[in-house]
């Protein structure tokens, strides 16, 4: 088997696996990055969401062979407990996680959305951005608030940066 090479969370990685293994399984089993979860395996739930370049994709639908050369960010790459990203901070402070199984996927989608905007989003923009991520626990209300809060902090931080 030819090794498959790609970048994950900023580090170049190389795996030897069957090219038809899903990228989700590669992340979880070969690289021990288990934030991304399998829930439906069909592209319906978003719990396996990762960032490839700027796009959110379902890693359960990508085969390892297709990942060659990709630049991948998983939830772990957005931030860890020692250095949480503002969107992760906001999910904690707003109570936007319960069982937490859907949360990494939502963090990835929310980060991607925040990367794409320079304003405080409307509820309907947030709903469109996160429409592909299922959560059975929270009813999403606090997720909406968390994204608003994170957007606000992001703007504040950017404001500070521009003052320098």
């Amino acid at each position: 088997m030819k090794p498959i090479r790609f970048t994950v969370n900023g580090s170049p990685r190389e795996v030897n696996c069957h090219p038809s293994k899903t990228l989700l399984d590669v992340l979880r089993e070969d690289l021990n990055l288990t934030a991304s979860k399998e829930c439906c395996g069909k592209g319906e739930c978003g719990s396996c969401s990762i960032l490839v370049d700027k796009e959110v994709i379902c890693s359960c639908l990508v085969l390892a062979g297709q990942a060659e050369g990709m630049d991948i960010t998983t939830c772990e790459g957005v931030g860890l407990t020692a250095n949480m990203d503002i969107v992760q901070e906001a999910f904690v402070s707003e109570g936007a996680t319960q069982c937490g199984y859907c949360t990494p996927g939502l963090i990835v989608s929310s980060r991607a959305f925040l990367n794409s905007i320079e304003h405080i989003p409307s509820v309907s923009e947030i709903k469109t951005a996160l429409g592909g991520n299922l959560c059975r626990c929270t009813g999403y209300a606090k997720i909406i608030r968390a994204v608003e809060t994170a957007a606000k902090h992001q703007l504040e931080n950017k404001g500070k940066l521009s003052l320098r």
Binding site: T34, K42, C75, F91, V92, G95, T97, G100, G139, Y140
Partner: protein, 776 residues
């Protein structure tokens, strides 16, 4: 000791709280939002093997022969097991263990397990399943619960198809129906909802060289899972460790055994290698428990002034192939079938019936959802017919603390219904409903605003043991380890336990470590079900904490020679005659003297003494109450319905964590929207038509309405700091409220859920046709 220690109920006079009642952030938040938390299905082991389950090919068939030789000889296969390989009792089930671990003679649903395989890879395991040859003789499929109850139906179990029958009678309904000014009678149907937890069933099993078995599998009661495993394996339970927390969602769907016994059986045959099973969503849909679909016939009699006179109920629940908690679900449904009202004459009857339609079991609400929609729709219809305000008619009929319920028992615990109704009638949505209704987004869209109220028993009811237990241990670094059996199911009980402990120990919450759901670390404290874990576990922690205070105060006195009275228990430290003693120093001292640093707290839930005859466990001592107000918008051209606003008014006793409470009210409301409007697992002739989230739609973020939560805090004396339970009632009245709001918007009464666009559209069409016909 000078500090005014709070007693175990947490009543510390008027002391303002530091942690209780505050929006404390979830203690497990950071590791959840970063994905660092390892769920059981996230673990990986170098020497692992994969386990898979062979399901029945038919919903009802006799097994003539099972041939496993071919599967066994496939390279890479480690073990193939059938019923013959079960050392102990081949069955499981929380109440009646009527579900075979591996079927031996008959299969009764397509979720039935027939064989287990362990193999080097998941692909080989899958292939091996295909090589197990089972010879079947087909049997007639029982798919209609009403027919199943008849004499001519094939019998699925030795005792027949009626698993349980409950009956409660009070007063004389026939006389009351004679006297009544108005009688309303209807039949309601409710769907087979799927829990749709995001983490499907799965976990790990491993047996070490000494024969000690470890099962890591999300569940809702580690000790009972262990008992059920031990029974099937004929194994000493002390030699089995079950780790059951954290859980990627459960809602009752992981209350029963899921894969624990399979894992244990396979682990006995893999030479010490850890074995993993993790269901695909498709397998979870077929094999997992569902909510019982019900048919509810209800006849309600009332006086002109709105006083409820009588209620007759007949409810039939489809439990599928096995009982699990079906009997208890039906019993709870009947107990709650008259709503939180006082109706003097009742005749209530419920049947739990076996069919070949998958398996039904525990699910948030536990039967109350299905009957609440009936009684609350009736309340709405009665109010309209009599021209009484929907709030007034409810207020008129609710029971208060100390009054007699429809069940005929005096309700001794706190009752918040009346207050929740007062809040409802004063909330913006209700007060200004006419204005909001006039603001529909399109001319063909119609808005409706309605409300409904309900209640839900907390704890197990009569006949089942119900107790809480917790331990608190001082750790070497000076932290307190709070260990509670109740798992972290997502609802945030870990944070509640930490809050209660921090409050009572007067330390920072960061000094509390919470451990849950692990038979080697936590005491047996019952299930995380029945809306009981905040109440029971919280109270157990609150009972253990004073023991820790005594232990450390005595230790400090002994260490320093200062008399007990001069020891001060202050925030984050203990002071003995001016000298500060850290928790760490206390640990060192206890450790050097070879003394225990762990204390326990135990709590028996208060129970009613007398069971209502024939009720199967009613009444409960404690109930939680909730009123929902909702606004919907119905597209009259398509029947599509959006829930735009929800006001949730719970009476959960003292709220320990408002953010956690809102998490429940919001999550429950949205789950209730899914139940009412679109969720249903379709089974035809015993075969699932529903397969995955492609054809089972749960609410997405797009369906999230504006949700407001206004708790009414009726302190419950027996609870920790006055708390009660909340986890289930949050999704119940919203169902009926949406149904009535659809009526308010369109004039069409939906009595068959889910209220799909098609059903609503047809109901509107029918209505128009009726209106077009001249009145006879």
């Amino acid at each position: 000791m000078k500090a005014e220690a709070k007693n175990e109920k947490g009543n510390g006079g008027n002391t303002p709280f530091t942690w209780v009642g505050k929006r404390v952030r979830r203690i497990d938040g950071p590791e959840k939002v970063t994905g660092e938390l390892k769920y059981m299905t996230d673990y990986q082991y170098e020497d692992m093997v994969w386990g898979k389950v062979l399901r029945a090919k038919y919903p009802h068939a006799r097994i003539k022969e099972i041939h496993v030789e071919k599967a066994k000889s496939l390279p890479g296969v480690i073990a193939v097991l059938t019923h013959k390989d079960i050392p102990g009792f081949n069955g499981f089930g929380i109440v009646v263990p009527d579900q075979p671990v591996l079927c031996s003679d008959v299969v009764r649903c397509t979720g039935d397990a027939v064989a287990l395989v362990a193999a080097e890879t998941s692909e080989i395991a899958e292939q091996a399943l295909g090589l197990v040859d089972v010879e079947y003789e087909l049997l007639e499929v029982v798919s209609d619960p009403e027919k199943a109850m008849g004499k001519t139906s094939p019998q699925l179990h030795p005792d027949g198809n009626i698993h349980s029958h409950v009956k409660i009678k009070n007063g004389n309904v026939e006389d009351a129906f004679q006297e009544a000014d108005l009688i309303i009678e209807n039949t309601f149907y409710s769907p087979r909802q799927m829990h749709a937890f995001i983490e499907t069933e799965g976990g790990w099993g491993k047996m070490d060289e000494e024969g000690f078995i470890t099962i890591k599998c999300p569940g809702q009661y580690a000790y009972r899972d262990r008992m059920q495993i031990a029974r099937a394996l004929a194994y000493n339970p002390e030699r089995i460790r079950v780790i059951s927390s954290p859980i990627g969602g459960a809602f009752g769907g992981k209350d029963e055994i899921t894969v624990q016994i399979y894992l244990a059986l396979l682990a006995m045959h893999t030479n010490g290698r850890p074995v993993k099973i993790h269901y695909s969503r498709e397998e979870s849909v077929v094999a997992g428990m569902k909510r019982h679909p019900f048919k509810v016939q209800m006849k309600t009699a009332v006086k002109k002034d709105g006083t409820l006179l009588a209620n007759r109920v007949r409810a039939v629940g489809d439990t599928g192939a096995y009982a699990s908690l079906g009997g208890a679900v039906i019993a709870l449904a009947i107990e709650h079938s008259c709503g939180p009202y006082k109706i003097p004459n009742v005749d209530l009857e419920g049947f739990c019936v076996y069919t070949n339609n998958g398996i039904a079991g525990a699910f948030r609400g536990f039967g109350v959802n299905q009957v609440c929609m009936a009684i609350e729709t009736h309340m709405d219809m009665i109010a309209e017919k009599l021209g009484i305000d929907p709030v007034e008619i409810r207020k008129k009929n609710v029971y208060h603390q100390g009054e007699v319920s429809s069940m005929g028992h005096v309700v001794k615990s706190s009752v918040g219904t009346h207050k929740t109704l007062e809040v409802a009638e004063n909330c913006d949505l209700w007060k200004n409903r006419e204005k909001y209704k006039a603001e529909a987004s399109e001319p063909w869209k119609k808005r409706g605003v309605s409300l409904a109220t309900s209640f839900h028993g907390i704890g197990m009811g009569i006949g089942l043991p119900d107790y809480g237990a917790a331990s608190i241990e001082l750790l070497p670094e000076g932290k307190f380890k709070v260990a509670v059996g109740c798992e972290e199911i997502g609802g945030g009980n870990s944070t509640v336990y930490a809050q209660v402990a921090a409050e009572m120990l007067k330390c920072d919450i960061s000094n509390i470590v919470v451990v849950q759901g692990d038979t080697s670390q936590t005491l047996d404290g019952g299930t995380v079900t029945a809306s009981r874990s905040t109440y029971t576990g919280g109270r157990a922690v609150a009972t253990a904490a004073p023991n820790m205070v005594s232990l450390l105060t005595e230790t400090a006195a002994e260490m320093t020679g200062v008399v007990m009275e001069k020891i001060e228990w202050l925030p984050n430290r203990i002071v003995a005659a001016g000298e500060t003693i850290s928790y760490k120093r206390l640990f060192d001292y206890l450790y050097e003297h070879r003394r225990k640093t762990k204390v326990e707290g135990h709590f028996m839930l208060p129970k009613e003494k007398e069971e209502i005859k024939g009720s199967g466990g009613a009444p409960h001592h404690l109930y939680g109450y909730l009123t929902h107000v909702v606004m919907v918008e119905v597209d009259t051209l398509t029947g599509e319905t959006d829930v735009l606003r929800v006001v949730s008014i719970p009476d959960a006793g003292k709220v320990i964590n408002p953010q956690g409470l809102e998490g429940q009210t919001e999550g429950g409301a949205v789950m209730g929207i899914g139940y009412t409007l679109f969720e249903d697992v379709l089974i035809e002739g015993g075969y699932h038509k529903t397969r995955n989230f492609t054809d089972y739609i749960i609410p997405t973020i797009r369906e999230t309405p504006i949700i407001e939560t206004f708790p009414v805090e009726e302190a419950e004396e027996s609870g920790p700091f006055g708390a009660k339970g909340i986890g289930e009632v949050v999704m119940i009245p919203i169902i009926a409220a949406i149904m009535s709001a659809i009526y308010d918007a369109t004039g069409a009464r939906i009595k068959h859920l889910p209220a799909t666009p098609e059903r609503i559209y047809n109901a509107i069409k029918q209505l128009k046709e009726q209106e077009a016909q001249p009145a006879r």
